[in-house]
Point group: C2
Amino acid sequence: MPRSQAPAHAASRTTAPAPAPLAERLGFLLKHAYQTYQSIQLPALAPIGLDGRLLAVLLVVQAEGPSLQQRLSERMGVDRTTMVALVDILEQTGFVERRRDAGDRRGYQINITGKGAALLRKATNVIHEVEQDFLAPLSPREQRQFRTLVTKLALERGRPRA
Amino acid sequence: MPRSQAPAHAASRTTAPAPAPLAERLGFLLKHAYQTYQSIQLPALAPIGLDGRLLAVLLVVQAEGPSLQQRLSERMGVDRTTMVALVDILEQTGFVERRRDAGDRRGYQINITGKGAALLRKATNVIHEVEQDFLAPLSPREQRQFRTLVTKLALERGRPRA
DNA sequence: TATTGTTATACTCTATAACTATA
DNA sequence: TATAGTTATAGAGTATAACAATA
């Protein structure tokens, strides 16, 4: 999905109703559900200097403690060469720091900073609002159902590699 | 999504379980549900020379009759310059044909051919199998629920532009 | 020889701008 | 001048290959 993010200026525009044969195809629905989510999340995270992938790195580092870049990339399912750029950004903005491991000087341990932890608290509130906004077309009961079902579909089978 | 498509050779590989904080985020779940779907659809459509976007063009042309390229791109939510390449492929393989409109010689009417209609019947069967495979982790009742809910989320709000 | 991080490179998908022919 | 189609180009995003440092 990639290449999958709509430009920010298009976030609030809409198009004509989807053609009937596409509106019944799961692939089309899944793609557009994800794009709709992104169109809400992108402008919500931008003011605090984050996007979905940078936020994911912070979430994993905070949940699992200091981690090698390679470990982070495996956990998130992105290439290790892609992780270089993500950590570069988070390091330059002071949200994480790279520390050499004295025992094995090949890799870095990635640590979240106090500034990064504070940002993460703010981002967590933003994400909850984004998810509520996205799920707004559903009743509270339907929202719980959707979370359960999409979790099974996304995770139960094992994720394809990014 | 699309870059959003995993390479074909990775379709059957899986990674470690998703980190807990990501497995609860809707953005992560939606992305991976879509990627999981793609990892099933891609190898299923490849043998008949199609992918999701080419199939979408055929579905719209068949449902709405001969259409200008520009109209097709609006209906599908893709740029008209992107539609050029899609119609090129379908024309070279003989699944659609471009016909000049005698009244307005600026545009082409895109028609599905007999060969294209035959392919579409085959593709429709393939897609039904792909969707069943994707939904297999859910009970029949849950499958109906998921279709209803994801349709509301993808379409009710109006689609963001591609 | 293998592993971590990095850089250089290439490939895919898609969007913008500019061109042509028609109106 | 506006529209349909096209081409050239550029920008994300991400993957592969090769390299330096370390084990």
